[in-house]
């Protein structure tokens, strides 16, 4: 495989990674009012959130907390991939929803972040 061909493969992979939104796509058009209704701090459970937004990218921490991340654009996974992370970054995503669950599986905090181009 030539270097150029390898680079093309990586670029295609990066583009494919950027063609999707995490979960069921609801985050793409989520308003802040709708988010406040769907995500109730101290009440909403993992099951509630999955029902509303689909499967997230999940990070589990040693302290028992869990972070669910929904991104419109590139998956965070691209940020740690050699070569690919020279081309793209999930930091450039248009929108992301981050939800923190406490040790009991109930929402403790959330954040809906929009990036102005």
């Amino acid at each position: 495989m030539t270097g150029a061909r390898f680079g093309t493969c990586l670029l295609l992979a990066a583009c494919m990674a950027g063609c999707a939104a995490t979960g069921n796509g609801a985050v793409t058009t989520l308003s802040r009012e709708r988010a406040a209704q769907a995500i109730v701090i101290g009440t909403s459970t993992r099951a509630d959130i999955e029902k509303a937004f689909g499967q997230a990218n999940v990070t589990r921490f040693a302290n028992g907390y869990e972070l669910w991340l929904y991104q419109v654009g590139y998956a965070k996974a691209v940020d740690g991939i050699p070569y690919v992370n020279l081309l793209v970054s999930s930091a450039d995503n248009r929108r992301e929803l981050t939800i923190l669950f406490d040790r009991t599986g109930v929402v403790r905090k959330y954040q809906l972040l929009d990036r102005t181009p």
């Binding site: 390898f6 493969c9 990586l10 992979a13 990066a14 494919m16 990674a17 950027g18 063609c19 999707a20 939104a21 995490t22 979960g23 689909g54 499967q55 997230a56 990218n57 999940v58 990070t59 589990r60 921490f61 040693a62 302290n63 907390y65 972070l67 991340l69 991104q71 654009g73 590139y74 998956a75 965070k76 996974a77 691209v78 940020d79 740690g80 991939i81 050699p82 070569y83 690919v84 992370n85 970054s89 999930s90 930091a91 995503n93 992301e96 981050t98 923190l100 403790r108 905090k109 954040q111 972040l113 990036r115």
Partner: protein, 274 residues
């Protein structure tokens, strides 16, 4: 195919596989990024090397801070160590500056920070700063603090000085290769190169907001809790601290006009938003 060439293509192949995994990960959820255990191999029989740094490297970190003192005129520089793996017990941690003719105890604070005093004899003795832990047990970082900064915030100029000390002192475990050698030769690598370096917050962090006067901006998830994909976990020193990890893109921030006095305000996991 030569061995070197084979190794190079192995790395390329690993990167391609990770890229393909990322494609699937954007649409279908990737589960448990923090669940990748780091394999640990213990080699018994020989004397275990200790976790250590050359004393001269730490002096180079002190020099780097002095050269850019204007970033944080009232700040103090200490060093700090963190557990590099979940199974590391930090109880009873001790440090000494040791060499053929040197043996100086280093007082450790309860938060595992310590100061390094200049000692020409120790430098001439090629001394090292050594902990009573096996090699690879600790993650080292500079710790620069200006007075008056709130407990839930860090000052951008302080973090810039930490970066300079970390690079010049070769403190990042994952940069201990020729690339770091090149970086350490640059006058101001943190501001001129878009480095991907991992800082540790004082407590597990949920989000970070940049604040400078009326200007505010939240850091995206890309800069928090480390990378989701870790191709070479054995090279990383931050995995055991994932809930505290954040990145600061100094070059981008300074290029965008954020001043040294910018505060990074932390919303910690276990407290109400500030």
């Amino acid at each position: 195919m030569t061995r070197r060439r084979a190794q190079r293509w192995t790395i390329h192949l690993a990167a391609a596989c990770m890229a393909a995994a990322a494609c699937a990960g954007a649409a279908a959820a990737g589960q448990g990024a923090a669940d990748n255990p780091v394999p640990v191999v213990e080699v018994l029989g020989a004397a275990q090397p200790r976790d250590e740094k050359p004393y001269r490297d730490l002096l180079a970190a002190l020099d780097a801070v002095e050269r850019q003192r204007q970033l944080a005129p009232g700040a103090t520089l200490r060093f700090k160590v963190w557990a590099r793996r979940a199974d590391i017990d930090m109880t009873g941690l001790e440090a000494r500056i040791v060499g053929p003719h040197t043996d100086i105890p280093v007082p450790l604070a309860a938060d595992h920070t310590f100061a390094i005093q200049r000692d020409a004899a120790a430098a001439a003795d090629d001394a090292i700063v050594r902990f009573n832990r096996k090699a690879g047990s600790l993650a080292w970082r500079a710790d620069v603090r200006s007075p008056g900064v709130p407990g839930h915030a860090r000052r951008l100029g302080d973090l810039m000085l930490e970066c300079a000390a970390d690079v010049k002192g070769d403190l990042f475990a994952y940069l201990h290769h020729p690339v770091n050698m090149l970086l350490s030769k640059l006058d101001d690598p943190c501001r001129t190169v878009p480095l991907n370096l991992f800082n540790f917050a004082d407590r597990p962090v949920f989000s970070i907001t940049l604040v400078a006067g009326e200007r505010r901006s939240m850091l995206p998830a890309a800069f928090l809790h480390g990378d989701a994909a870790v191709p070479f976990p054995g090279h990383e020193d931050w995995l055991a601290q994932r809930e505290r990890v954040y990145k600061v893109k100094f070059k981008a921030l300074y290029d965008a006009g954020w001043p040294d006095d910018t505060l990074l305000v932390f919303d910690f996991m276990d407290e109400d938003a500030p």
